[in-house]
Symmetry: none
Subunit: 227 residues, 2 copies
DNA sequence: ACGCGCCCTGAGCAGCCTCTGAGTCGCCAG
DNA sequence: CTGGCGACTCAGAGGCTGCTCAGGGCGCGT
């Protein structure tokens, strides 16, 4: 699972380095470039397993980059990043070949989920196992959460938050980390929301013993089996 | 069932790579070419089990390609792709030889269905089993849907949508995925149609408990047995 | 020509989801 | 003991999503 090569194409410096850091930290071999021409050149040298490709680029647009790759016979899977409004007409047909797209602004969780999904479909990554902690289970493919066998109904944000906690079970994550990973990267508010949503999760899936979500005062939260 | 060799012949780059990706993703061994001459050459080297052949080609037209193959004694089954109006006289009689045709623009679901049908007639593919989910059954060959033993009458789009949901039961599919697979590839509208058709399906075949079609708010829909 | 079924759109509506702010509690330090 | 800060809870405004329904256009068969 470790070491897949990612080609990351985005012209916004800020966002690009943020994504680079995040993906690198997850064990990917990230190669960042800022425009379409460099992207095409890099494909030959890097031989990436996946391209994360912004649609809005200064020179060639993302679709054009992809088209040229395909006519050259390259079949690298692509994950497109698109702006909110350009979404409807041009994006049609993207989910067909194992490719996919993501609407800006997104959260890191969503990006990572899509990256793994695309790699999985391309046969380069393990089938996404069911996440588990004691009697808590999350089946990501079916988007289903159960605690002690009983189904728990979660809103999108609650689901993403729980997913992040499960991915980091045993470790303590700060409110800042949670905001950075679960909320959209342009979110302006403070950490108060996180407290609210931890509260929602506790009520919905952590009401009975043993408690799984623990507060580490002054530090953050952790999801763990024992006390 | 896996690994049949398909020769894909179409001169529109966009469509060709879209179909290539989609069919490859379904497990076929796809060989794309862009014109009639390359097609004839490729038949010898690839030895395809089926040819998906656009009728409108820059050099030889699709029928001509087929004719030459037949005079050489090759009996590979052919699935023609035709434009809306060229349908009438020429295409008649095509279904007699085990061949078939599809009118552009089509949906991926239709293409896959025809591909499998042709392969099945040629004895290269398993008879399409009956799709089932609890007391809901779809016999694709007979084009018949029953819920709890009672026949349900569906319009073409409703049928295709249900077929796609059945093929993906247990998994969540987004409105975008549904549009990409069930609607014609040149459809320009937004996801509102999908909501409408989910509504139609619910009324026709999901009125009684237990419900099979579930909405995952903010994500998509899923077809599954339990609640 | 006419009617019918099918497909899609748009408006209206209801319920859910998200986030904020205020109030309270409890831990810890001084 | 007391003050301060961090965390929890609750209620509510506002936005957004998805559902439903009615209607118009199109194609096909009568």
């Amino acid at each position: 699972m470790p070491g897949e090569r990612l080609l990351l194409v985005d012209d916004e410096d800020n966002l690009r380095s943020m994504l680079e850091a995040a993906l690198r930290h997850l064990g990917f071999d990230v190669h960042p470039v800022a425009n379409g021409r460099d992207a095409l050149a890099a494909v030959a040298t890097v031989q990436p397993d996946l391209i994360v490709l912004d649609v809005m680029l200064p020179d060639l647009d993302g679709f054009e980059v992809c088209r040229r790759l395909r006519t050259e016979g390259k079949r690298v899977p692509v994950l497109f990043l698109t702006a909110r409004d350009a979404t409807d007409d041009k994006v049609r047909g993207l989910t067909l070949g194992g490719d996919d797209y993501l609407v800006k602004p997104f959260s890191l969780e969503e990006l990572v989920a899509r990256v793994n999904a695309v790699l999985r479909r391309a046969g380069l990554s393990q089938p996404g196992a069911v996440l588990r902690c004691l009697d808590l289970e999350m089946d990501d493919e079916a988007h289903r959460v159960t605690r002690g066998g009983k189904e728990v109904s979660l809103s999108p944000t609650e689901y993403n938050l729980l997913h992040y906690l499960l991915m980091n079970q045993g470790k303590v994550v700060s409110k800042a980390q949670i905001l950075d990973h679960v909320w959209q990267y342009d979110f302006g508010g403070d950490g108060g929301v996180v407290e609210t949503y931890i509260g929602y999760l506790r009520r919905k899936m952590d009401a009975a013993e043993p408690r799984l979500i623990h507060t580490i005062r002054g530090v953050g939260y952790t999801l763990r089996a024992e006390r």
